[in-house]
């Protein structure tokens, strides 16, 4: 039996093709290279620093503090804290001098965290973890914008 094709059939067929292509592109999007691995059980240790906390607020960060993000505790803990003098450079007598700025302090915090890993990309609750990037550091005591200084070796 010969069937007459109408324009609706064509539209449906085109729609199916578009959906199939879209589904293929979506599914192949996150699997571009052979070395791609997805893991949500990857631990890293990284150091962040900030000079944006008001004086004395660095003392609110303690070893063992748990990080908070998206309204819940994360599997991320402070393993080291140091509060240092904040130094600046001035020119005096024809040379550069390092001087201490008494209105600021440099707080450096090391964090051990379970992160999501997608190939070379790692994030902690949506924040990408790489030296040089900004990182919102938040516990139940304090929140501040920091910069990631370095990744500590020995991740697993």
């Amino acid at each position: 039996m010969k069937r007459k094709i109408n324009s609706i059939d064509i539209l449906i067929a085109l729609g199916i093709i578009v959906v199939l292509i879209g589904a293929y592109m979506y599914m192949s999007r996150s699997q571009v290279d052979d070395g791609f691995t997805i893991s949500s059980d990857h631990r890293v240790s990284f150091m962040v620093e900030t000079d944006k906390l008001p004086l004395g607020m660095g003392e609110r960060i303690q070893i063992g503090d748990q990080l908070v993000a998206s309204g819940r505790y994360q599997d991320a803990y402070v393993t080291d804290v140091s509060v240092q003098e904040f130094k600046e450079v001035i020119a005096s007598g024809g040379v550069f001098l390092e001087v201490v700025n008494p209105t600021k302090e440099l707080v450096r915090v090391t964090v051990d965290a379970k992160v999501n890993k997608y190939g070379p990309y790692r994030d902690l609750s949506g924040q990408e973890i790489k030296a040089g990037l900004d990182f919102w550091f938040k516990t139940d005591e304090v929140v501040t914008l920091t910069k990631i200084v370095q990744m500590i070796e020995g991740e697993n």
């Binding site: 571009v32 020119a91 997608y118 070379p120 990309y121 200084v149």
Partner: protein
Amino acid sequence: MKLITKEGKLFNKIHLFDLLFLMLLIVVILGAISKFSGKNIINLSTNSENIMVEFTVETYPFHEDYFASIKVGDKLAEDKKYINGTVTDIQIIDNMLALPDSSGQMVTGPDPLKKKALVTTRVEMSYNDPVYKMGKEEMVVGNIFFFTTEKVKLSSVIVDFKRVE
């Protein structure tokens, strides 16, 4: 001649559904080829050739600790993908400052607090005359470039760029 006959044939040659099926097949085959032939090289352009390039970036000034996470042999990355290139050399250099002192004289010299890094990388990238591209980035001396590996993402400027065999 009718565009579509009563039997549903286009120009009385091929059935419309056969044509759609063939088109779908071609799309799936092309998709599969692009997925499996590219490996981990990001190259979306079609009229381009892959060439080997060595380029050097100069990072913005950072405390020297920021460079501790860069190692020779590190693989370059972009977003959630690796790029077919590795770090071949790292040099920490002075960040030159020029500041006026209290007498109004300009003092120039190395910054005692911050350094810069010169990072050289050998990478395979696409060349579509006259544009070199690595991933989404156009590569040309002077461009601002986010030097990215698995462990770092540092703002930098491309300061040297050359093709190598």
